[in-house]
């Protein structure tokens, strides 16, 4: 045995499981396909193989993290060769291929921390009505686990900067209620519950504050998506990706070893009187190509909503018609408003919104039954490409907006118009919409019958929303436009994103269908799932990670009770 438990993937869910199991004295080996940023054993993680593994808290280095995370969006976020991409650590190699709808992309990344490296850290709970009498477990049962993760990350109410101020102003004027509970049962708006350490510079800080100050807590500099490195130590970094929250804690238990650059290509099983059960994995070193076998008593899949079903299928595990099926992605949309300076001055006392200031998505609107709308903003490259360069409605110059539609422009914005709109970048407020889309077996992740990369048959992702999803999303676009109008926007732009933009990827290995309520696979004992794929549904629209993390805590308890007590 190489470990008691092998965890596949050190992202949103896997890192939590590693810590929880390590805390119980269980020996854990985490295999992560991507690089490890901010660790002395990998001073240059994109250029050199570095060490094989690290199991020491002392290896973490904030100096290296600050060197790795450059705040620059092409360097950090370019989908093909950025440090946050779905690909190997070595940036001389191409990204890993996936087949999906033509207009979209799946925005995930490899690396210790997984897709939480670039996430906004928004950590709301599921809507209770989406869980109670729907999931095989109750909302009540989730609450203690939510509380545990909320305390551990920790989750707090986001501070406000002009982009949130103007959103609150519009939402209040549009007549919506301020929500004050974590358990959302009625529509309304609220400061984002997020996993970002509260600012503690008490307003003394300015743009030119001495960077040697090493503040603890967010400085509102707006680089959440590019990889936060603000803090005195790795564990003290403001945005609580699992790289800086659960991983350091896991290492401190002394029971957790993590190997980056290790792509698991097969789950190994044994059959005995217990029946079919997991026995280990094979992984491929992403630098050398060497295949390594690892044996363990329990295997946890935390490879994310696409790779967990892919790995099941590539491992030839028993047929289950629900493996990969039921994919939700909250079919996002984006609605933006451009404001005049005087209007902003009047409303919030400052003439600019500055999308690059403040936490990337710090105010939200929740509507159980429909979904979510949240503000967002960041630096101009990603911003323009998402606002103006992403649509399935074609070019806006060919789209006639009807009188009943509350926006002025719909679709791609290019040419001189793009430059005119981007000139008002600093007075633009954007709202992201997450639809409460329904689980549907026709939406799925599977493997291509022919095409393989070095890690096996490649994933195929298919997602086509239905009419009800479409109606809900439209309604959210109307509400968002109304909030922008009430706030005083002079121009409202609806991007109308294609369905195949994958940011919240979930429900492809659902509890109750692929796993039991302990998140153990029905057909393969000792094989557990702890990532977005095990979610029963899309939670009603809320961002999924907190719920995945709460479940990962619960699953770790079950693993310990079932196999290590």
């Amino acid at each position: 045995m190489d470990a008691d438990v092998v965890i596949i993937g050190a992202g949103g869910g896997g890192a939590v499981a590693a810590n929880e199991l390590g805390q119980k004295g269980i020996k854990v080996l985490v295999l992560e396909a991507g690089p490890w940023y901010g660790n002395k054993k990998w001073p240059d993680p994109n250029a050199d193989h570095g060490a094989v593994s690290s199991s020491s808290y002392e290896d973490l280095s904030i100096e290296i993290l600050k060197k790795n995370f450059t705040d620059l969006e092409d360097d950090m976020n370019n989908f093909e060769y950025g440090k946050f991409r779905w690909g190997p650590a070595n940036r001389e190699k191409p990204s890993w291929p996936r087949i999906q709808g033509d207009r979209g992309f799946s925005w995930q990344n490899s690396g210790v921390g997984g897709s939480t490296l670039h996430y906004f850290a928004n950590s709301p709970r599921a809507f209770p009505e989406a869980v109670d009498n729907v999931w095989p477990i109750s909302y009540q049962e989730l609450i203690p686990y939510y509380e545990k993760v909320e305390a551990a990350l920790p989750v707090a109410s986001a501070p406000s900067t002009p982009k949130e101020d103007i959103f609150y102003y519009g939402a209040a004027k549009a007549g919506w209620e301020l929500l004050d509970s974590k358990d959302v049962r009625t529509p309304g708006y609220r400061p984002q519950p997020n996993a970002i350490l509260r600012p503690n510079l008490n307003g003394e800080g300015t743009e030119s504050v001495n960077p040697n100050l090493q503040p603890v807590g967010c400085t509102l500099r707006g680089h959440c998506v590019n990889g936060c490195h603000i803090g005195p130590t790795v564990e003290g970094v403001a945005k609580r990706s699992t790289l800086v929250s659960y991983i350091p804690r896991a290492l401190r238990t002394g029971n957790v070893e993590i190997r980056p650059n290790a792509f698991v290509i097969q789950v190994l099983t044994d059959a005995d009187n217990e029946g079919l059960h997991a026995a280990g994995v094979l992984y491929r070193d992403t630098w050398t190509g060497e295949i390594v076998e690892v044996r363990a008593k329990v295997v946890v899949m935390s490879a994310g909503g696409v790779e967990s079903p892919r790995l099941w299928l590539n491992s030839d595990l028993p047929f289950n018609e629900w493996v990969g099926k039921g994919l939700i992605n909250h079919w996002f949309d984006c609605v933006s408003g451009i404001f005049d300076e005087e209007v902003l001055l009047d409303a919030i006392g400052i003439g600019e919104i500055k999308p690059f200031v403040g936490q990337n998505a710090a105010a939200r609107f929740d509507y159980p039954g429909l979904g979510v709308a949240e503000t967002f903003g960041f630096s101009p490259g990603l911003y323009s490409s998402l606002l103006y360069g992403t649509s399935y409605k074609g070019n806006s110059i060919y789209n006639r907006v009807t009188e009943t539609e509350p926006w002025d422009v719909e679709g791609l914005v290019t040419g001189e118009q793009l430059k005119v709109f981007m000139k008002d970048y600093k007075r633009t407020l954007s709202i992201l919409i997450f639809t409460d889309d329904q689980v549907n077996p026709n939406n799925y992740v599977t493997i291509d019958p022919v095409i393989k990369d070095e890690n096996g048959s490649i994933p195929v992702i298919k997602y086509i929303p239905n009419k009800i999803d479409q109606e809900k999303r439209n309604e959210l676009a109307y509400i968002s436009s109304d909030i922008l109008r009430k706030a005083g926007a002079k121009i409202v732009i609806r991007s109308n994103w294609p369905p195949d933009i994958f940011i919240h990827i979930a429900c492809t290995m659902r509890m109750g269908y692929v796993t039991d309520t302990n998140c153990e696979a029905f057909q393969v004992k000792r094989l557990f799932i702890a990532d977005n794929s095990v979610l029963f549904n899309g939670l009603g629209g809320p961002n999924p990670t907190l719920t995945t993390q709460a479940l990962a805590v619960r699953t770790s308890e079950k693993i310990s009770e079932l196999y290590f007590s």
Binding site: K93, L201, V357, G358, P380, T414, E416, I451
Partner: protein, 145 residues
């Protein structure tokens, strides 16, 4: 990966490169009208900031990733628009003489002029002075409703 493949080795003016230039020029053109209204920096467009080179580089990555059997032309049509904007409005042009190097070997030599066009100051250490609390906003701004 050889980033400069295809437009250095084959010369800048091969057919594919010209097509990409036409595309980026349509997406983000030179705008003399805007220059008259708002100042000369608004004149420049994607041809000036070499966004077609950026696309070529990104395409080489995508091509290397996409296996022979995949229909990559089709997959790319919409990504090209997104990448055009990312190339133009991100820091990329500011890598100057190192812009076509392997991404690990680029150095930001200057801030791109596109940032001036949108009045983006570049990364800052802190914007803490903007901080407010929701309660404060509630008092200052929202009490009228």
């Amino acid at each position: 990966m050889e980033n400069s493949e295809n437009f250095i080795s084959n010369g800048k003016y091969n057919y594919r490169y010209l097509r990409l230039e036409a595309l980026v020029n349509a997406m983000i053109p030179r705008t003399p009208d805007l220059a008259q209204l708002y100042g000369t920096n608004m004149y420049y467009g994607a041809l000036d900031f070499l966004t077609a080179e950026y696309l070529t580089m990104v395409l080489n990555y995508i091509k290397a990733n996409i296996l022979e059997t995949m229909n990559w032309e089709e997959r790319l049509s919409s990504s090209l628009i997104r990448f055009t904007m990312l190339g133009y409005y991100s820091e990329w042009f500011g890598y100057g003489t190192t812009r076509l190097n392997n991404p690990n070997q680029r150095i930001l030599e200057f801030y791109p002029l596109s940032w001036e066009q949108v009045d983006y100051p570049g990364p800052a250490f802190s914007y803490i002075s903007y901080e407010k609390e929701y309660n404060q906003i509630n008092k200052e701004i929202l009490n009228e409703f």
